[in-house]
């Protein structure tokens, strides 16, 4: 509502026109991905936010809901060098960096592996089934995500444009390795992908032959709708241009307090001892990521200021996986965290 009346990015900065162009490109990007991914506009919007917030994304969902398709579509529309790897139990960190094989002359050779294959221009690194990989691999990934650099062949490799997408299915628990808290905290968002509920969308997904051949579906998308080399600059401009008022800052801090001490604001969840529920979480990095994502969302909506609606729209994907519960409540995590986040927004007044 009423976006148009308060629309308009600030005109006083020289980058305003270019930000407006970036916004058009972002919307075109969403539309392009939406051609291949139907029934998930929410997920596509969050991915777009993550791209402009320069954050890594973990997709989670049942088997076959289209996690991989979404990430492939995003990677294609984003353009730039793209690499993917499948998580397996026997995958070792070195397998990500080096490819060892025997060449035509029968000599063993070591070449750059998936991460290094495209050099430092790598734009998207897609880690499929991340929870099947071992903690050693997680640890390397952690560095790749946090510092956007690795050490290989005796030198430092830096990936300024890199964005890591990962997915994991939540069905299987055997032969999987839960991501350590530090690794999870480094994902900007953890997006849950659900089966579309809309009947028409379901019918289309099941009966339209277009969706049966994923390679052709993805191949039909326009490549490089966004210029991945400019994303870092655009992201910085967005963070500098979109304002947060003192009221909003107070609001976000109140949300943070409510997450850390739910019982202090009267949050109660059925069958949960609120005093011992929260073990940790809501790190400063997490709340910073929340504000970053909220700014991008406001910009995508065509606003120059962040509203509580923006915070709410990105809160669950950004914050839910950073809340660490007492182990006895981990089993019921989905329900408890969803209820906690919902109640935090019900209790915290805005403005």
């Amino acid at each position: 509502m009423a976006h148009s009346s308060i629309a308009g990015i600030r005109n006083d900065s020289a980058g305003a026109a270019s930000l407006e162009r970036w916004r058009e490109q972002a919307l075109a990007f969403e539309a392009e991905v939406g051609r291949a991914v139907v029934g998930q506009p929410h997920v596509v919007r969050l991915l777009t936010i993550a791209i402009f917030a320069r954050g890594h994304v973990l997709l989670e969902g049942d088997v076959g809901v289209g996690k991989t398709t979404i990430l492939r579509a995003v990677a294609r529309a984003l353009g730039g060098p793209f690499e993917r790897i499948e998580g397996t139990v026997d995958l070792m960190p070195t397998d990500m960096l080096y490819t060892a094989f025997v060449d035509d002359a029968g000599k063993p050779r070591v070449e750059p592996g998936p991460v290094l294959h495209h050099g430092e221009n790598l734009a998207v690194f897609f880690f499929n089934e991340i929870n099947r990989a071992r903690p050693q691999v997680h640890s390397l990934l952690l560095r790749l995500m946090a510092e956007r650099s690795v050490t290989a062949f005796g030198k430092e490799w830096s990936f300024p444009h890199l964005q890591v997408f990962a997915d994991r299915n939540r069905v299987e628990k055997e032969e999987t390795f839960e991501l350590p808290a530090a690794a999870r905290d480094r994902f900007l968002m953890e997006i849950g992908v659900e089966t579309p509920t809309d009947v028409e969308t379901r019918r289309e997904l099941v009966f339209d032959p277009r969706f049966h051949d994923v390679d052709r579906l993805i191949g039909g998308l326009k490549e490089g709708v966004l210029d991945h080399r400019g994303l870092g600059e655009a992201g910085r401009a967005i963070q500098e241009t979109i304002t947060t008022s003192p009221t909003l800052e107070t609001y976000v801090l109140a949300l943070w307090d409510a997450i850390r001490a739910p019982s202090s604001v009267g949050i109660a969840i059925d069958g949960v001892d609120m005093a011992r529920l929260i073990q940790g979480g809501g790190s400063p990095r997490g709340v910073g990521a929340l504000v970053r994502a909220a700014r991008v969302r406001a910009w995508l909506e065509g606003r120059a200021m962040v509203l509580p609606e923006d915070v709410r729209a990105v809160f669950n994907p950004v914050m839910a996986h950073r809340i660490f519960l007492d182990p006895i409540y981990e089993v019921r995590r989905d329900r408890i965290v969803a209820s906690l986040c919902a109640q935090v927004f019900e209790r915290t007044p805005a403005p």
């Binding site: 509502m1 009423a2 009346s5 308060i6 304002t243 947060t244 008022s245 009221t247 909003l248 120059a304 200021m305 962040v306 509203l307 509580p308 609606e309 709410r312 927004f345 019900e346 209790r347 915290t348 007044p349 805005a350 403005p351």
Partner: protein, 295 residues
């Protein structure tokens, strides 16, 4: 009645069976006393009293007046008729000492259809009159002295009191209902009427400059929160109005309010009151409170 029966006359003939006169106690009669004599006369069938033979009302003697005379008839034994003649006398005899006085008899005439007549004397009575004497005062005796006025008889007001109480109770109940309906104190914090309380707060605060405007907007926000049962943001307004159609008439004004509130609280400190003047804010709060009453 202390009756004295006097057989005044034997029947003049067989047609008149008897005449008896009864009076009150025949002594202690004072000047001005009224006494009634009742005379019963039985006559044979066919005979009727001649009314003209009755004595006339008026002075009977110089000290005795006949004030009234009534005649009734009824059945007598042997198929005859019993006449009851009630005569009321008043004596004006001022006796100097106790003395016997007499009421003179009167003659009653009876006739049958065939011209036969019979007469009988009746109504004779005598009594003792007493003089009026002043009361000899007895020293120390108080009972004849002036007594205090009798306390006035108080009429019971119980019914009026009950009715007044009921009316008062009904008035209080009606007032309480009105206060509840209008969310006046002590019902002003009723959760079901958040906008009524907000309207009061807005009216008080809205005009008081930028700070007042913000306080008023916050009060209205809290009312929206309470009405929606959660924190209501600008993006939720359309969904909220769908669940509360009573507010649909004010949708544009509500949207304008949220728009102005966004500028004020989340924008770059622009003058909020310019976007939504205090009068409009007050009017919106009042409209919402009235729409809320309609639900």
């Amino acid at each position: 009645m202390a009756a004295a029966a006097l057989l005044l006359a034997v029947p003049a003939s067989a047609q008149v069976r008897g005449a008896e006169t009864f009076g009150p106690r025949p002594f202690g009669v004072l000047l001005g006393d009224v006494f009634t004599l009742k005379t019963y006369v039985d006559v044979d069938a066919g005979f009727r009293l001649d009314p003209s033979s009755l004595p006339k009302v008026g002075p009977v003697s110089y000290s005795l007046d006949l004030r009234r005379i009534d005649v009734t008839d009824g059945p007598a034994p042997n198929g005859g008729v019993r006449y009851q003649i009630t005569a009321e006398y008043q004596t004006f005899y001022s006796a100097l000492e106790t003395k016997e006085e007499k009421v003179p008899p009167f003659t009653l005439a009876f006739a049958d259809g065939a011209g036969k007549r019979a007469e009988v004397q009746a109504g004779r009575w005598s009594y003792l009159t007493s003089p009026l004497r002043p009361i000899a005062s007895v020293s120390g005796e108080q009972q004849y002295g002036l007594r205090p006025d009798a306390a006035p008889h108080s009429i019971s007001l119980r019914r009026a009191e009950i009715l007044t109480g009921l009316a008062g109770g009904a008035t209080l109940l009606a007032l309480a209902l009105l206060a509840w309906s209008r969310a006046w104190p002590p019902f002003h914090r009723r959760p079901a009427r958040p906008f009524a309380a907000a309207a009061r707060a807005v009216r008080k605060a809205a005009g008081a400059g930028e700070t007042g405007w913000r306080a008023a907007a916050l009060a209205l926000h809290r009312a929206f929160d309470a009405a929606a049962g959660k924190r209501l943001f600008g993006d939720d307004v359309a969904a909220f109005i769908k669940t509360r159609p009573a507010f649909a008439r004010h949708e544009a004004a509500i949207a304008a309010f949220f728009d102005a509130s966004r500028r004020a609280f989340f924008g770059e400190g622009t003058n909020a009151a310019a976007a939504l003047p205090p009068e409009q804010l007050t009017r919106l709060a009042r409209d919402l409170a009235s729409a809320e009453r309609a639900t």
